[in-house]
Chain length 287, copies 2
């Protein structure tokens, strides 16, 4: 996010991601979590008494790509043991239509208590009722069950509710410990809940570049990019590379650098969520 | 922001804006303030003990227009007696370069206490050291003086500080009662402060469309658009119209609906800040 030509002294080092053992709450040894994900979890934990700590701002592109669009959303947890973020939306909402046209997005998450800001650039994946992959279907179902009855009700209204911030539920209930894709959650154990309507969409933000600004003393800043092998030899285009998903590119139509014509749709297949994200390279930026 | 085709029942009424007498703190009878501006001021007032209430998220378009970019900024007050919002930035920051290329922006301001969300779409104007209009020059100078010495210092560093959220000052000092363009502030009365360096930029968000979501009971939602005479007969294109500035269009190169080629620069002249914004039309949206 920061141009190297502006005189910023940047030291680049490829880190092997933070070991999963840092997360004491990890039930089992899963894949290693990137440092930035650990830092978000830590900031969330330190603000656990503040339900609004789970609120962040999600920016997309307007339907004609002429304007950015940004609204507050509620973090619904990490997708399984990955570093992909989940949110929910109504299929009749403005942002659903925008993401259908263009999956490129950036989230801004500011934690007032720890004074950490995370900017997460990536692609939005949408898991809807047409999803056929069992693991993705289950993730959508779990997210549905984790909502309060009142919040679920909005998706059955003839007109959409307030799509910007569906949180008539208790916010701290929104992103409680159970993850949207938690394997342990079975239909039998959960209380009886009617199935989600077609309007209920699970959103997944698949990160491609992270900017972490820590404003507490000492002030620090890091950027994280996928640790592609060619990164160390070609730092010039590293940010541009980060804008591309690291999974199967065959599934994805990424917007070209020469603008986004109105007729272009650059969507991502939800199955991209199943692809491993690999390791991350960290760039520490010290003014 | 909401498509009328999704079944939302919308009742449209053109209101003559809220009288300035609503604002009891108004020192003199100025121009009438739009209802949405009054509501923001009210939310700010109710959160006056929370310095982070002045934090909001500003979304712009990435240099290649492929991605939205969003970061937290600090509200620095209204520009004079207008409903234009001010922020500051460093000329070496990422967002400065983005706004130079494309002035289209949207701010998202969520007030946790009152549960009000304001989305403000419009054009960014930048007032820098080359500004020659006395009123605009003075607005930039006042914003500079309102900052703490520590925050001012960052603009003299060889590399930019943390441009995303310059707030090493006390946040409540950032947007205190004195406005950036306050006429009463004179150089003689203020404590001696060295003049702002060329890196110091006053940002002005000139609003073109507002979306106000109130999540407290009863939940309500309003949209505000410039009250153009043809609005009532052509609601179909009202949002598209709102994306265009209402001042002198001759000064402005607005991005066309057919995308933003990489070579296009659609900037706004800072003198647009001097143009009256006129009245606003309110659309109440009830699900």
């Amino acid at each position: 996010f920061v141009s190297m030509s502006t005189g910023v002294r940047a030291s680049m080092c490829v880190i092997a991601a933070v070991s999963a053992t840092i997360d004491a709450a990890a039930a089992s040894v899963g894949p290693v979590r990137p440092r930035w994900q650990h830092d978000i979890s830590s900031a969330l934990h330190r603000a656990s008494r503040d339900p609004t700590a789970k609120y962040l701002q999600l920016a997309t592109l307007s339907a004609d790509s002429a304007f950015p669009a940004v609204r507050t959303v509620v973090f619904r947890g990490w997708l399984w043991d990955t570093c992909q973020l989940t949110f929910i939306t109504d299929a009749r909402s403005e942002k659903h239509g925008q993401i259908l046209r263009n999956a490129n997005a950036e989230a801004c998450w500011y934690f007032t208590k720890t004074r950490d800001q995370f900017r997460i650039r990536g692609q939005m994946l949408m898991i809807d009722e047409t999803e056929e992959h069992p693991k993705l279907m289950r993730a959508r179902l779990t997210a549905w069950k984790n909502m309060s009855p009142g919040a679920r009700e909005q998706f059955f209204w003839p007109a959409p509710g307030y799509p910007v911030l569906q949180e008539s539920e208790q916010p701290d209930q929104a992103a409680r410990d159970s993850q949207p894709g938690e394997e342990a959650a079975t239909d039998g154990e959960a209380p009886s809940v009617e199935p989600p309507p077609s309007t209920f969409i699970l959103l997944v933000l698949r990160p491609a570049a992270i900017d972490h600004l820590r404003l507490s003393r000492p002030q620090q800043r890091w950027q994280y990019l996928p640790a592609a092998p060619e990164l160390s030899t070609s730092s010039e285009s590293s940010v541009a590379k980060a804008a591309e998903p690291v999974g199967k590119t065959g599934d994805v139509a990424v917007a070209g650098k020469d603008g986004l014509p109105e007729t272009t749709t650059s969507t991502c297949s939800p199955s991209l969520a199943l692809e491993p994200l690999g390791e991350w390279a960290a760039i520490a930026i010290n003014p």
